[in-house]
Symmetry: C2
Subunit: 228 residues, 2 copies
DNA sequence: TAGATTGTTAATCGATTAACAATC
DNA sequence: TAGATTGTTAATCGATTAACAATC
């Protein structure tokens, strides 16, 4: 670890824009690919090209968090990758619980990408008692009523919701009561939570909807494609 | 249909910002809930409150597409809902094909939300021939090599990718060759495609990663939560 | 009519890009 | 050293908000 990583936390003063943090994840993803392809260094121009951003934007984004590069050289992949992981918090393991073991819940429990990025699916919960007591993809499924008790015995900071829209708000409330600090909600409904708990909604149908709009209006908007 | 719906298409001249279109989907989702709860009308203040936006933003967003409201009254839910559906293109049915019938692919094939919003999962494709010839969630699974031929006999404008990252680019190329116009990519990799084809990436691990950052930096950023 | 809420303009705020001195 | 690329400043661009006349 060079002294680059210990320098300024957020030179730009105020809060970091959400869009910047999102791009950080994309940079990390590309860096991991570059490392796998045997690259030792990269630079703002290369990263930008890979993702469709300007080189200036890449440098500006990174500058929010410190000085990671070497003028005349670029960035060392392992170093920058490590720094970004630290910023995002994925240098540590996060325990995650899932509520809802239907179609989507099952799939998410088995999704390998979570483990690889530092997330550990610790347990799943469901109200359907025919599903509880079993394991799904190696993850134990418990009755939803056991959530609070389970939370006492484990450090679970993140939760995912994959229940029908009608049940989502109640489930969210229970997760909060259990001490979860962040929620990823796959139910197609806006949930409201205390300010101290962060949450993001992923509505798969909306993703398709946005795509259908883009297809219909493609000739107009030069830049219709965006990766998340 | 009143004359509101036939008025100006995009008074704001240039292309509609992506963020606006995304919020349009959220407005529609809330309107559908309001309708289900028996509301006949709504207004920019109510919609804004439900989603955490200002009333001005709601009106501005809608004004990109026409005059849908009634001064002193607000918006009629059925009318505005219909108008948004028309704008997004979900007043028509879209056929969708899925490539990849692993964990995630299976779950997406069974996801009820797609049907409800006007998307029809027509067929799935996989290279694993032990999976082909069967049906998953009522959707037939064919060998990937049959994709082009299948496309000739059907109108498929949208495709979803749920294969490992290493296979995603090749699959995307095949979808394009088959005439697909929009792609929703769940593989954690940036795919590159001709400009005429629109695509969006959904990286589930990145969603969690963003959440972990927000949890760690919660005290700073007042508004960490965003729904999509 | 009085009250409410729109659509729209102008003002503000924030994010992206271009340019370049500093640095390796 | 000469060449390359950073970090950062200033300029540009775009998006959000506030305010209000127009309208039902």
């Amino acid at each position: 670890m060079t002294d680059a990583t210990k320098k300024g936390e957020n030179p730009g003063e105020g809060p970091v824009p959400k869009a910047v943090v999102n791009r950080l994840s994309l940079y990390l993803r590309e860096i991991d690919h570059l490392v796998r392809d045997g690259h030792n260094t990269t630079n703002s121009n290369q990263l930008g090209k890979l993702l469709g951003f300007t080189d200036a934007q890449v440098r500006k984004d990174l500058a929010y968090f410190g000085h990671f590069g070497y003028p005349g050289v670029g960035y060392r992949c392992d170093e920058l990758g490590g720094a970004i992981r630290k910023i995002l918090g994925t240098d540590q393991q996060w325990n995650v619980v899932m509520v809802g073991v239907g179609n989507l819940g099952r799939a998410l429990l088995g999704y390998k990408g979570f483990q690889q990025r530092g997330f550990r699916m610790l347990a799943a919960f469901d109200t359907d008692l025919s599903k509880t007591g079993t394991q799904v993809e190696g993850v134990p499924v418990y009755p939803l009523d056991n959530l609070s008790e389970f939370a006492k015995g484990h450090t679970i900071r993140l939760g995912m919701i994959a229940v029908p829209a009608t049940a989502a708000q109640a489930v969210a409330d229970r997760l909060v009561a259990a001490g979860v600090e962040g929620i990823l909600n796959f139910a197609p409904i806006t949930i409201s939570l205390p300010d101290r708990v962060v949450h993001t909604g992923v509505d798969l149908a909306i993703e398709l909807e946005q795509l259908s709009f883009s297809v219909l209006n493609r000739r107009n908007e030069d830049q219709a494609s965006v990766d998340s």
